[in-house]
Amino acid sequence: MALTVSGPSQTLPPRGSGDSPDAVVALSGVRFSWSGAPPFVIDIDGLRVARGERVFLRGPSGSGKSTLLSLLAGVIAPLEGTVRVLDLNIGTLGGAARDRFRADHIGFIFQMFNLIPYLSVIENVCLPCGFSSRRKQRAVREGRSAEAEAVRLLRHLDMGDAALLRRPVTELSVGQQQRVAAARALIGAPELVIADEPTSALDSDRRAAFLDLLFRECARERAALIFVSHDATLAPLFDRALAFAEVNRGSGFAPPGQGCPR
């Protein structure tokens, strides 16, 4: 690939050096486009998120935020540059290793439809423990079962009511569903929690309450939080707020028919 790479980090230091050991996420010279050629959807010189840090990433929809999250989750690999998560260049991992890495270290909260409709609240929360033995071990480290840990997290998120736990997840309100999703993202103490517009379906009161709970739990688990939203009013609540357009020089727009690229 004879593409010219701009930015200071185009010659990459060996793994670990140059970055603070406490960095959970470190991107350098990352470029990506669905077509595999310019124009790039993602073109980021550098982005770092420290352990336990709460980062707000603001940008309109279609700005490439979801593509960035897919890069961070290792679902897609960058065309150029490195994506380091927990000091590991996940671009060098194979597909299976990336899937395992994601299960072990990253919790996800989506905008909506977070829950598997045919599983109970507890089963939804425990889902990552079924795919990651590390998350399971960490969930049960205090001598309780994964289910008990799920209940503990749910209680912290004001979802501990026994009657609520027995309800089919499809009957929960959106706010309740998002809190269940937050508990799932947090179970087994992953180092990184990624939330993709998790509050866009909530009204402002519920939004504040949800964020409050989410922050508290992230702090307790010492998890870094990358929070993506288009709602600038939330920015002051975070340690650091970034405008996505300033971080990313790429065009941002997903190509038509992104559902089935290639």
């Binding site: 897919s70 899937d99 994601r102 996800f108 977070n114 409709p117």
Partner: protein
């Protein structure tokens, strides 16, 4: 983990799943049922006559001889002289022989003149012998024994008198009215052409024709009748004639040699056939219909599996979100692929299992009916190798069809990444 998820997911969509399984169940039941009936009807056809080593008639084609002597279809072109029959029947290889004389009818049912040897030696099915449902076999030359259908359709009981007509048509102008026969026995149902046959004594039939010949005022008509292969008018004992005879040999192995000997019989031109071989020949002709039936039932299986494909594909858009969530918690694209493929395989296998179970229940329940109405004797045993092969083919087709939605969602899960598409 994935297995548990697949089970829960399926339970969540149980209505569609039940319908899918039901359609596969019915399709498999139909396929195997048709296959079973096909086999049984072939075997039952081949068992229309059994235990008989040779059938002998005047020189004609083997199929023709079999059709008129066993199935009562068509007429003999020529008769066999009684002395030819005696000569062959008295050979040392012959264990028993049954002379038969055809050419008359009673209300559309064929009349067969024979002797009590017929009831002793005739076998059908798996060496089943003729059983009397009512009454007794011949004692007097004027006795008649009816097949089950004849008795039921015409409402006869032992003791009643019947009059036979010359010729095989439904309506005959030449009734042997002055010489009635008396019904002495009614045979149990066999599911073979025997059910539709009126059996009378050879002696009685000869006497009827002797009288008819005396009455005949037009010698030309009699000559025409004789030429057409019907009973020779002159039924004097010495030049009595029969239409065909069935032969049982002491040793089966002698059948081919005996067949050749009869075919080269110097007294008159004769044809001997091995019933089994000729039956297969006839089956080749009538078997086209059952092959069509098989093709149709195979198509029904295709339709059933296509239904499953549609159900799986329509569930995909809904499940795409589910798959994105599973991906986010660490499920591999291969997991997603296996989830869908496993579901297709599970539904197909369940359909096959239920189909086989339903077929067996149906066979057990329907056996008496099939036996009495169609004369099919279904043995309810383990599925044959052929049926196992069919089941495996259906299972493989189900899995193959499952590859389509599985591959689609695999592509989705690669493409969607960490986005939930609404």
């Amino acid at each position: 983990m994935i297995l548990a998820l697949a089970a829960r997911s399926l339970r969540n969509r149980k209505f569609t799943a039940v319908l899918t399984v039901l359609s596969i169940t019915l399709a498999v039941m139909l396929l195997l049922g048709v296959e079973r009936l096909r086999n049984e009807s072939r075997e039952s056809f081949a068992a229309t006559i059994s235990g008989t080593d040779l059938i002998v008639g005047a020189r004609s084609s083997p199929v023709h001889l079999l059709l008129f002597s066993v199935f009562r279809i068509g007429n003999a072109t020529n008769n066999i002289r009684w002395d030819s029959y005696r000569t062959i029947a008295q050979r040392p290889e012959v264990a028993w022989s049954i002379p038969i004389s055809l050419g008359d009818s009673h209300h559309g049912f064929r009349v067969l003149g024979t002797t009590n040897e017929y009831f002793d030696h005739f076998r059908f099915g798996r060496s089943r012998r003729l059983e009397l449902a009512q009454g007794a076999v011949f004692h007097d030359p004027r006795d008649a024994v009816l097949g089950a259908d004849v008795a039921v359709n015409l409402g006869y009981k032992p003791g009643e008198s019947i009059v036979i007509a010359h010729g095989a048509g439904d309506v005959s102008f030449s009734l042997h009215e002055d010489q009635p026969f008396r019904v002495t026995g009614i045979l149990a149902r066999t599911g073979t052409p025997v059910d539709r046959t009126v059996h009378v004594t050879l002696d009685g039939l000869d006497a009827v024709h002797a009288r008819a010949a005396e009455d005949a005022f037009d010698p030309l008509a009699a000559a025409v009748r004789a030429g057409a292969g019907e009973h020779a008018p002159d039924a004097a004992r010495s030049d009595r004639a029969i239409t065909a005879f069935l032969v049982g040999l002491r040793a089966r192995g002698a059948a081919l040699a005996m067949q050749r000997r009869i075919n080269e019989y110097p007294g008159e031109p004769l044809t001997a056939i091995l019933p089994g071989a000729t039956l297969l020949e006839v089956w080749e002709i009538v078997g086209a219909a059952e092959r069509t039936l098989f093709a149709v039932s195979a198509l029904v299986v295709v339709v059933g599996l296509a239904g499953m494909l549609v159900a799986l594909l329509t569930s995909l858009s809904e499940r795409r979100r589910e798959m994105a969530v599973l991906r986010s918690v660490g499920a591999r694209p291969l997991h997603i692929f296996a989830l869908i493929l496993g579901e297709a395989a599970f539904l197909t296998l369940l359909g096959i299992a239920f189909g086989v179970a339903a077929l067996y229940l149906g066979l057990l329940a329907g056996r008496p009916w099939l036996e009495s109405r169609l004369g099919l004797f279904i043995v309810v045993g383990w599925p044959s190798l052929h049926e196992f092969v069919l089941m495996i083919v259906v299972a493989a087709a189900g899995v193959l069809i499952g590859l389509v939605p599985a591959y689609r969602i695999y592509r989705y899960s690669l493409a969607d990444g960490m986005t939930i598409r609404i």
